[in-house]
């Protein structure tokens, strides 16, 4: 099971808390999936005077670890300020760091991300950076003090799955010990299973569940897929091969 900054989490599934039809359905999605971490956004909800408290209280009642995020932040300064606010609101050093570099694709700003990560690590935060699968960027983030990486599968909310399998495999190979989480872009449980089969520690999703016709059912679907992926990874899967290999010996034929 994944271990983030010394905290072991009992599930490989992490869920966002936005866009659900209601908080009750959000809670049902967590209950049916057993997701271990809830991300929560503070930028827009905070308002002048902790006006989002009623909703945050509902999220806290889920009884899972909370990972506040800096969703919607487009600059280093904004992200750092939001992280500081989140630490105060939720009494946690964890922060999922998002620095958005492109308004249309919501692609992370790699330069701003490294800078913000440095600042936040210096202030004692435990940073979960939302990044691309770029190996050099990921190395810089680790140098900055990140001990978890959260590369995207595809742009946020697209449901396109794992767009760059090669890049994600190579990232896993380069950081064999570091917890890696696929964040963003997943639309179907099969894509989540694929990520875990590849050795990723966890997946984080929001839109795929929240915008499904039945969010709680979809959350359970993801939970089972993640479990299947973990079993497959642990079971040491066979290598693909070009030639057919009959699983039953064919008796009475010449051995070619």
């Amino acid at each position: 099971m994944p271990n983030f900054y010394g905290t072991e989490i009992a599930s490989r599934l992490m869920l966002g808390t936005a866009q659900y039809p209601s908080p009750a359905i959000l809670a049902e999605a967590f209950r049916r999936s057993g997701a271990g971490i809830a991300t929560v956004s503070v930028r827009r909800e905070a308002g002048g005077e902790r006006a989002g408290e009623a909703f945050w209280a509902l999220v806290q009642e889920l009884g899972v670890a909370l990972l506040p995020n800096t969703a919607g932040c487009h600059s280093v300064r904004e992200a750092v300020t939001t992280a500081q606010m989140a630490r105060e609101l939720f009494d946690t050093r964890w922060i999922k760091l998002e620095v958005i570099g492109h308004a249309d694709t919501l692609q992370p700003d790699p330069f701003g991300l490294v800078e913000a990560a440095r600042i936040l690590v210096g202030e004692g935060f435990e940073v979960f950076p939302y990044c691309t699968e770029d190996l050099v960027l990921c190395e810089r983030l680790v140098e900055a003090g990140c001990r978890v990486l959260m590369p995207w599968g595809a742009p946020i909310g697209t449901g396109l799955g794992l767009n760059n399998i090669y890049g994600l495999r190579s990232l896993r190979a380069h950081f064999p010990e570091l917890p890696l989480v696929i964040d963003a872009g997943l639309g179907l449980p099969s894509q989540a299973a694929q990520a875990i089969e590849m050795g990723y520690d966890a997946v984080l999703l929001n839109t795929a569940v929240a915008r499904a016709g039945d969010p709680a059912m979809m959350a359970e679907g993801f939970a089972r897929a993640v479990e299947a992926g973990a079993l497959a990874h642990a079971a040491d899967p066979m290598e693909p091969r070009d030639m057919a290999a009959p699983s039953t010996p064919v008796l009475g034929k010449a051995f070619l």
Binding site: S22, A27, E45, G47, G48, E49, A54, F55, G157, G213
Partner: protein, 332 residues
Amino acid sequence: MSAAFTVLGGGVCGLAVAAELAARGAAVGLVDPAGAPGPHACSWWAGGMLAPDCEGVSAEPGVVRHGRRAADWWEARGAEVIRNGTLVVALGRDRSELTTFSRRAENARRIGRDEIAALEPDLGERFAEALLMEAEAHLDPRATLAGLRARLAGQGVAFRTEEPADGPAEGQVIDCRGLAARDSLADLRGVKGEMVVLRCPEITLSRPVRLLHPRFPLYIVPRGDGVYMLGATQIESGERRRATLRSVMELLNAAYALHPAFAEAEILEIGVDARPAFPDNLPRLRRQGGRLFANGLFRHGFLLAPALAVMAADLVLEGRIPEDFHEDHSER
């Protein structure tokens, strides 16, 4: 006249409950410290769409079932209900939103460019396909609230701005104070909404239009005379008095994307308030502390206030326990 019932709160919920009680012959007083319906009530900022089929895409089935009765209820109480349906559109690259919406909505009919142009000539050139929700309707919330209040006053409902000084309100209290009832209802929360009112005589729309978008969904409701209401954000925050630049920009951008002629519109109003909601975003009748609370209409004030009012009257006048939206039968 001594009131058998005192309704607290003169927004859409309180007025609907008072109307339903008065219509069945009960003596009713209504107390709202702010007086007549105005910007203090979140229903003042409502879209006024009676759109159960659209709402059903993300709301519980009860919202659809009970919401279908709203148009008739309002019309029977003198409101000007416009039954032109709702048009649902999406911009080119968000076409998939239309597919999902049509799969999940009841009574959505897919129409093409010609029919769009026949219904809304200004949109025919902009959209090749749309969904028409024919059974839906809309009304002007402010005119409706004022009209209902005047009608009730004419029927003998006593409107006051404060509760009688010599003790508690007369008769049975039905608390319809919306978010103000957070002082008693711990699980009630605010869901912030921001809206904009525009004047744009260049564009003519005769029915509400919903623009589907994965991030910035928009609806636009014609108020007549070239006036349009754009709504609405939905943010998990109880903040009632601060429209942000980001939200307003999103609304205006979406309107501009719907039709570029909105670029020249005059901004008449920017509104903000928080909708009262329970965790399942469904309304409730709840007995607590000697009162009956009717609350939690969320974004469905005009859509569900009639059903909630009927249920409240059934309960207090006839002892009939409603099948929905009624949570507990005993005092707590």
